[in-house]
């Protein structure tokens, strides 16, 4: 059963690499942030799979922190700290 999880993790990390092309291509800054967003979600999925593969439940907390900070990155993209845009 871990074999399938490893395969899925491998597939996800390859998709991650493909998604990076969008960062490279752009063309707008919004596209790049979208790519970060997808990378973040893919990373969370890989972490979930890894937590089964290497039997390390602590990785679930790492995934939790990623999810929490994904929103922080997104808001940092659209706002200056002083408020407004």
């Amino acid at each position: 059963m871990t074999g399938l999880a490893v395969l899925a993790a491998l597939a996800l990390v390859i998709f991650f690499g493909l998604g990076l092309l969008r960062i490279h291509l752009g063309p707008t800054d919004a596209d790049r942030i979208l790519s970060i967003q997808l990378s973040g979600t893919t990373t969370v999925a890989i972490l979930l799979l890894l937590s089964v593969i290497v039997d390390m439940p602590a990785l679930l907390y790492v995934a939790l922190i990623f999810v929490l900070f994904a929103a922080v990155i997104a808001i940092a993209f659209v706002r200056n700290p002083k408020g407004g845009a």
Partner: protein, 312 residues
């Protein structure tokens, strides 16, 4: 699994290469953030969940927010290379050759690494029962090598003082302006994610005694809660710090030194704790350190002496 590791390592190298050579500075920053994600993954693979936690909160989270916000704060024409073009072609080639040679030497050295029976870590693991906490990394940080951690807190304060001396706050003082472009979801974000970040941060500090977690990771997540509040306009920079904030800032260092000094007559050495009391002292020190780290990181983000709640 070797294939997974190989793809991961390859992606990290490609990202690092794009990060340092990207034509557009913004692209470099975005690539750096994504590299933080990959690094956290690879550290999870390298049996270091503690570091994956820290990297997730700091490398991919706080550092990315800081870089993005600074880039946005720069005047438009300063965001590109025009005034700072890359070095001349000859220098580039020279640097390229030198760094390839350096990389090859490092790779050979790392490949030749041999397992070492006498590592200091073996000693630390063997005496873990004396440390009062079950988690080896926390034991090393707070007990076996507590001087390092104390001095590190000093470095953190120094960096904060340095940043304040530059007097270029990211979150300027003065009334926050709400120009009507605010999304209705911003308050939702502030009210949903801040309490969760606080909760998870506090949990991580406490969990550091038993498993992955600890003062640094927890402190970084708590600091992240403050950053969300600043970004959502619930907090803003203030030119002066209140007494409470200053106290929180040095709380970690003070409590650390105090605990070390108070036990001096009992144990005969600085920062040696009596066996029965080790666990409560550790937890107290951890929470104080985490608070100070959180406040320092928040102030490093805003670049101001203090923070206050804006008047509505």
């Amino acid at each position: 699994m070797i294939l997974f590791d190989g793809v991961l390592a390859l992606l990290i190298v490609v990202l690092a290469w794009r990060c340092v050579t990207a034509g557009d500075l913004y692209l470099g920053i975005v690539v750096f953030i994504v590299m933080g994600l990959m690094l956290a993954l690879s550290w999870a693979r390298l049996d270091a969940p503690d570091l994956a936690l820290a990297e997730a909160a700091i490398g991919a989270g706080l550092l990315g927010v800081l870089l993005l916000s600074t880039w946005r704060a720069l005047p438009g024409h300063r965001r590109q290379d025009r005034d700072h073009p890359p070095a001349r072609k000859a220098v580039r080639w020279l640097a390229g050759v030198a760094s390839v040679a350096f990389g090859l030497v490092m790779a050979a050295l790392l490949h030749a690494l041999q397992p070492d029976e006498d590592a200091a870590g073996a000693l630390a693991l063997g005496r873990l029962t004396e440390a009062g906490v079950e988690q080896p990394v926390t034991a090393v940080l707070l007990n076996f090598r507590s001087y390092d951690t104390l001095l590190e807190m000093g470095v953190l304060l120094m960096a904060l003082i340095g940043a304040l001396l530059a007097r270029t706050p990211l979150a300027p003082y003065g009334a926050a302006t709400d120009d009507g472009t605010d999304s209705p979801l911003i308050p939702v974000l502030a009210t949903t994610f801040t309490p969760l970040l606080l909760l998870v941060g506090a949990f991580l500090v406490w969990a550091g005694a038993y498993g992955p977690g600890g003062a640094f990771q927890g402190g970084a997540v708590l600091g992240g809660a403050g950053v969300v509040l600043v970004l959502c306009n619930r907090l803003q920079g203030a030119p002066e710090a209140g007494i409470l904030l200053r106290l929180l800032l040095v709380l970690g260092v003070k409590v650390f030194i105090l605990a070390g000094l108070l036990m001096l007559p009992l144990e005969g050495a600085f920062m040696a704790y009596p066996p029965g009391l080790t666990y409560p002292i550790m937890i107290a020190i951890e929470f104080c350190l985490a608070t100070s780290i959180a406040v320092s990181l928040l102030l490093l983000f805003t670049g101001t002496h203090g923070v206050r709640v804006p008047e509505r």
